[in-house]
């Protein structure tokens, strides 16, 4: 019997969508393999009722309510995950690809002597033999990596879904874990504080991203994109020149030296589409490009395009959307 363990990440007691998606993807895979079962680990105080109707398939969710896990202290988490892997006899560990898993997974792979594949998508390479396919060399090439050890760790690039589906017929049980005790050496690094921005989704997690390039003209030019993002419940993203100009913060940068994103809808406004930028949006669902230049590379990857000046097209788009949303 193979056992897979999925790590469910919580922030402020809320389990991340990306973790739930990872669980559901793993369940889809396991459904065809009766010799494999799935468990999950949820660390930190969180109301398990929030998971009702979210998790597909069957399995056990191990949960620890311990205060020490409220904030994501790396040492505590690493030990808890390593011990839970041993306890359930798991051969494969899955994380959503997040700031937390990028911090923990490499450490765990050394500690557990496991092969680590980061930023995977559940595509053919994975179904065929546990391979991970992802763009390399700023999007010029696609590489497939395969694990060599019997223990494996995957971090899965989240696809932001546009709406959560309610799952029925699942059979999930919850088991509370015994508290762990930590020595003072295990205390550090210690998370002192977590400061969350309120009200707007993060560009790494948003289902809809409205991104702007240098053609937006100025920091003020982004007001149009902010309004559009607010209408759509999405996040504002930016290309590298925009961040280098200081128009937007680095946290919003999409590309090689910024974030890799996979929203359901990506709206690229006045972004010409460097290979580095295109690589970072390679897993997006629907891509819409608005650009003055018909020959801009962004149109090669877009599903829909409007050739025109963003300063003329965007106000109209905002108007049309307002009208559409009012009618609904």
């Amino acid at each position: 019997m193979n056992t897979f363990l999925v790590f469910l990440e919580q922030r402020e007691g809320v389990v991340k969508e990306a973790s739930i998606e990872a669980w559901n993807l793993v369940q889809e895979f396991v459904a065809l393999r009766p010799d494999t079962c799935v468990s999950a680990l949820l660390a930190g105080p969180a109301d398990i009722l929030q998971l009702d109707g979210c998790l597909a398939g069957k399995g056990v969710v191990y949960h620890t309510n311990e205060e020490a896990f409220r904030l994501c202290n790396p040492q505590h988490y690493t030990r808890l995950i390593a011990e839970t892997m041993k306890r359930v006899g798991a051969t494969t560990l899955f994380f959503a690809d997040t700031a937390l898993s990028r911090d923990l997974a490499p450490r765990l792979s050394v500690r557990l002597h496991a092969s680590l594949l980061s930023g995977c998508t559940f595509d053919q390479a994975w179904w065929d033999g546990g391979g991970c396919q992802r763009p390399v060399y700023s999007g010029a090439a696609m590489a497939i990596s395969v694990p060599r050890h019997s223990l494996k760790i995957y971090t899965i690039l989240p696809h932001a879904a546009s709406s959560a589906t309610i799952i029925s017929g699942a059979s999930i049980t919850f088991e509370l874990l015994e508290p762990l005790s930590f020595t003072s050496q295990e205390l550090f690094p210690l998370v002192r504080r977590m400061t969350m921005r309120k009200g707007v989704p993060d560009v790494a997690e948003a289902a809809i991203i409205v991104a702007g390039g240098r053609g937006m003209g100025s920091a003020e030019g982004f007001a149009l994109l902010e309004e559009l993002a607010r209408l759509l419940g999405g996040a504002v993203g930016a290309s590298r020149p925009v961040v280098d100009e200081g128009w937007r913060p680095h946290a919003e940068q999409i590309g090689q030296t910024g974030k890799t994103v996979a929203p359901a809808l990506y709206l690229a406004c006045a972004i010409s589409g460097t290979p580095q930028h295109l690589a970072a949006i390679g897993s997006a669902g629907t891509i819409v490009a608005i650009n003055r230049d018909l020959h801009a590379p962004i149109f090669d990857v877009a599903d829909y395009g409007i050739v025109g000046d963003v300063h003329l097209v965007l106000p109209k788009l905002i108007e049309e959307l307002q009208e559409f949303l009012k009618k609904r």
Binding site: P106, M142, A143, H149, T195, I208, T257, D300
Partner: protein, 250 residues
């Protein structure tokens, strides 16, 4: 204060990664210092300058082919004191690279370990971001990845990192390893004087033996083909209709 900085080379962003009959051809690629490593190096040099003492040293470690000397010269001109080039022409996975780095750091510093180790957040070619944290585990050091702010005192270090939707502030003790995100600092430019001085600084070439087999294997690298047919729409109303009706996106 003893500070180690790990550097790697990546193809410069304007380089063409070409394929000859389906096989990757890196012969026309111009290699440069990984951009994130520049932030790592800059932070190390700033700390050295702040905690200036006769024993304060920034030592550079790089697992690379002998051609990386030029990159290390630049790093020395940016403020490194000496460099160790751990020479290999083999393609290594992140675990093997971390292992070589950890052994070289232990050999160089002995049991004391450096006070701080800095790495770039990830290399811009493969972007797996695994080496820094693997290295921290192998060295038994505290670590924080992708930091955007650092304040060091004699006793501890306060750092910040971006998480989805916010910022995490952490307290870390020495010795510690940090991987560095863009935005932590603005790397200095080299000057003619610093380039001249760098010529006198030592670069030690050390051949490495690879004792462990890789943990992962790259089985294929193929050109990325993006074939999408863009449907051009004439106005915003049509776009809203398509996105809402045909894709149910809002």
């Amino acid at each position: 204060m003893h500070i180690a900085v790990c550097l790697c080379q990546v193809p410069d962003t304007s380089s063409v990664i070409s394929f000859v009959e389906g096989v990757q051809d890196l012969s026309r690629v111009n290699e440069v210092m990984n951009p994130f490593d520049e932030y790592a190096l800059e932070e190390a040099v700033r700390l050295k300058e702040r905690f200036e003492g006769s024993s304060s040293q920034v030592t550079l470690f790089s697992v690379a082919s002998p051609s990386a000397r030029e990159m290390l010269r630049k790093a020395l001109a940016m403020g490194g004191d000496r460099a160790l080039l751990l020479c290999t022409t083999e393609v290594l996975d992140p675990f093997q690279t971390s292992l070589i780095l950890s052994r070289a750091i232990r050999d160089f510093y002995g049991e004391a370990l450096p006070d701080l180790v800095f790495c770039g957040k990830h290399s811009t070619d493969f972007q797996s971001a695994q080496v820094p944290l693997m290295l921290a585990e192998l060295l038994g050091m505290e670590s924080v990845s992708a930091i955007i702010k650092l304040e060091a005192s004699e006793e501890s270090i306060q750092v910040e990192r971006e998480i989805e939707g916010g910022i995490e502030s952490l307290e870390v003790h020495y010795p510690a390893l940090f991987s560095v995100e863009k935005g932590l600092n603005v790397p200095r430019k080299t000057t003619i004087k610093s380039v001249m001085e760098a010529r006198k600084k030592p670069i030690d070439l050390l051949p490495v033996t690879i004792s462990e087999s890789p943990s992962i294997t790259v089985t294929s690298i193929k050109p990325l083909v993006r074939a999408k047919k863009c449907r051009f729409v004439s106005d915003a109303r049509e776009l809203v209709r398509l996105l809402s009706h045909e894709h149910a996106l809002f």
